[in-house]
């Protein structure tokens, strides 16, 4: 039995029913894109070469990933961290639960980790009696709203401040109707400070893991990863295995690109390098595959593993800005999500590579030069090859190919089509034609170019 799945076109259509909101969403994200442009311009002479260097480093990582993982593990263990390996989301979740249970923790605070979103960790822990508090402000907001993130860097970018005000009024007791971001942030600060001070277990993501030294780097603006990790007794850091970079010095390249690409900042407020656990505390690192080794084996798609999760492709994507992150029905949305998700489940995410005009803006903002729009094209071919195209589409494409491969049939079909458009317009201009819903069709000329050419140029 096939599940009925919400598809991108339907979810996007729903999002577009409130045009003012679409405009607001588009403009907010375009503003971030413009901030990124200005930040990139400050490194004008080096920017493109830096992207190339970052891409080259990641190529080296992908070609030597197994060795680097082992090197990282050895170094991390020598540093006093405990390293765990998870083949998939379920194993990752079980490891985290086991670690919490081993120290008797029933409450945990968590800073932003897209990996744990990918693994649905929060739901799993809740089912097992663990209370999880997300501490990134955006994450906390969507947690209170019982929603998933709509953006990998700005998780609640789809929410208006009035909605956040209502949520905070209900959950944190802020004044009704006060939607001042300063006031709301202050309220969250007070609410979360109490959690930081009282929780014994903290989970963070990982931005970069250094094979050479066994350390890892976590980047935040709020300082929530550090507040959590330094105040708790146990720090669990979860990383997708592609987060490895060879050497500490390579951070110079990546930290120059990451925040400038993400938000237009020269660097995030905090770039924390965790190497050894503090005295008397425990540091655990969970290395997760969850389909990454499979993607590594897909030659056309392995480059997607270079992603450093800056979100620039989302901010620039004209479709994402006008369909919202939730229309991608995956933890990671936007162009990068659309090339990562089909690797996880081709059936469930067969719609995502089509949620693009292939405009190519994503590939050109990407700080690690992932050929995102080319991969979207290639995923379309792969999905068809693997049997994920509908019968109707197969039939339509077969017909189109037959017509367009046969010059006589093509000309006949064109002539008939234009005749019908002129003489039976209702046969085409009707509500079953999505083109016609908000657009006119071109006015059909009597003669095609070829007909004109034969008449005027061929003697």
């Amino acid at each position: 039995m096939t599940k009925t799945l919400a598809q991108h076109p339907d979810l996007a259509d729903r999002f577009n029913r409130d045009e003012n909101r679409v405009d607001w969403h588009d403009q907010t994200l375009w503003w971030v894109r413009q901030k990124r442009d200005r930040a990139a311009h400050t490194l004008e002479t080096d920017w493109e070469a830096l992207r190339q260097a970052a891409s080259d480093i990641k190529d080296n990582v992908l070609a030597n990933l197994a060795d680097y993982l082992e090197q990282f593990e050895r170094a991390a263990q020598a540093n006093g961290a405990i390293v765990h390996w998870a083949t998939d989301a379920a194993e990752h979740n079980r490891i985290v639960l086991g670690l919490l249970q081993s120290v008797g923790a029933t409450r945990m605070i968590k800073s932003k980790s897209m990996l744990t979103e990918e693994c649905d960790l929060n739901d799993f822990l809740a089912q097992n009696g663990i209370e999880v508090i997300d501490t990134d402000l955006g994450e906390r907001i969507i947690q209170l709203a019982e929603e998933g993130p709509s953006h990998i860097v700005m998780p609640c970018i789809h929410k208006k401040k009035e909605e956040i005000s209502d949520l905070f009024h209900e959950h944190l007791g802020t004044e009704a109707g006060n939607a001042d971001p300063q006031y709301l942030t202050e309220a969250a600060r007070g609410h979360l400070r109490d959690k930081f001070l009282t929780r014994k277990a903290a989970l963070t993501g990982v931005n970069f893991a250094i094979a050479e030294t066994g350390e890892f780097v976590v980047c935040t603006n709020e300082g929530n990863a550090d507040m959590g990790a330094h105040l708790a007794d146990i720090h669990i850091a979860c990383m997708g295995m592609e987060k490895i970079i060879p050497q500490r010095a390579h951070l110079g390249v990546f930290l120059r690109l990451l925040a400038r690409s993400a938000t237009g900042q020269p660097i995030t407020t905090y770039s924390s390098h965790f190497r050894r656990p503090a005295a008397g505390k425990a540091l655990h690192i969970v290395i997760v595959d969850n389909g990454r080794s499979r993607q590594l084996g897909r030659e056309e798609f392995r480059n997607s593993l270079k992603c450093i999760r800056c979100g620039a492709c989302m901010n620039t994507c004209p479709v994402y800005r006008r369909s919202g992150g939730h229309s991608y029905h995956n933890a990671v949305g936007g162009p990068i999500g659309a090339i990562l998700a089909p690797n996880l489940d081709m059936h469930q995410f067969a719609d995502l590579p089509y949620a693009s005009t292939l405009c190519g803006s994503c590939s050109n903002v990407c700080p690690v030069k992932i050929n995102i729009h080319e991969q979207l094209y290639l995923w379309r071919q792969e999905l068809t090859r693997s049997g994920h195209a509908t019968q109707g589409k197969k039939a339509a494409m077969g017909l189109a190919a037959w017509v367009l491969s046969n010059p006589r049939i093509y000309r006949l079909a064109g002539k008939m089509g234009r005749w019908a458009m002129r003489n039976l317009p209702f046969s085409i201009n009707n509500r079953f034609n999505p083109w016609y819903k908000q657009r006119e069709l071109p006015a059909p000329p009597k003669a095609s170019f070829r007909e004109w050419y034969l008449k005027n140029r061929v003697k």
Binding site: A53, E186, R189, D226, T269, S272
Partner: protein, 189 residues
């Protein structure tokens, strides 16, 4: 087979065999005429405060004048930063630390556990002040990592300005969870 072995086997099987050499990053090593001026402009632009001081006594005076409440520090003149439980720092108004160096291109200061004494010290106070020698500013992150080299720290952090968030409609708010302000006292010696 353990998950570890399974993952490593899958990675070895699937990783490309192309040589993929690491790039040379020397070409990004640009010198900057006035690293202090750039550092000042960038850090001020991201919400930090930069102040030149004649000597440390002047710095202490400035901080005592501008901050009330509990001040802790690894430097002389204030209550010594305690090494025990980080929760004991919850009521600290200002923490004063010595930066190891700073980066002109992004306004960040670098500090490791030895100069922090207590990792939470840079994050939990309401305000953060950092003493920086003017000669300790490098132009870019490439210079920064060259300077760090293979230093053997337990924990190190680049800090660029006060804790901040723009998660609510992209409105910038300073003081998300960590310090609400960051003052860098630049010592010209």
């Amino acid at each position: 087979m353990s998950s570890r072995a399974e993952i490593l086997a899958a990675v070895r099987k699937n990783q490309p065999s192309s040589p993929a050499p690491l790039p040379d990053t020397q070409k990004f090593w640009h010198e900057v005429d006035d690293v202090y001026a750039q550092f000042n402009i960038i850090l001020s632009g991201i919400g930090g405060k930069v102040l030149e001081i004649k000597n440390w006594e002047a710095g202490q005076e400035y901080l005592k004048e501008h901050f009330n409440g509990r001040i802790v520090s690894t430097l002389e003149g204030f209550e010594p930063l305690p090494e025990s439980d980080p929760h004991a720092l919850a009521d600290v108004e200002l923490c004063v630390l010595q930066a190891q160096f700073a980066v002109a291109e992004n306004g960040a200061i670098w500090i490791t556990n030895s100069a922090l004494r207590q990792r939470a010290a840079a994050f939990i106070p309401q305000h953060l002040a950092v003493l920086l020698k003017k000669s300790d500013i490098v132009p870019t992150m490439h210079h920064a990592y060259a300077r760090i080299g293979s230093a053997d720290y337990d924990f190190g952090v680049f800090i660029a300005g006060p804790s901040k968030t723009a998660d609510i409609e992209q409105s910038l708010v300073l003081g998300a969870h960590g310090p609400r302000t960051m003052t860098v006292l630049v010592l010209n010696e």
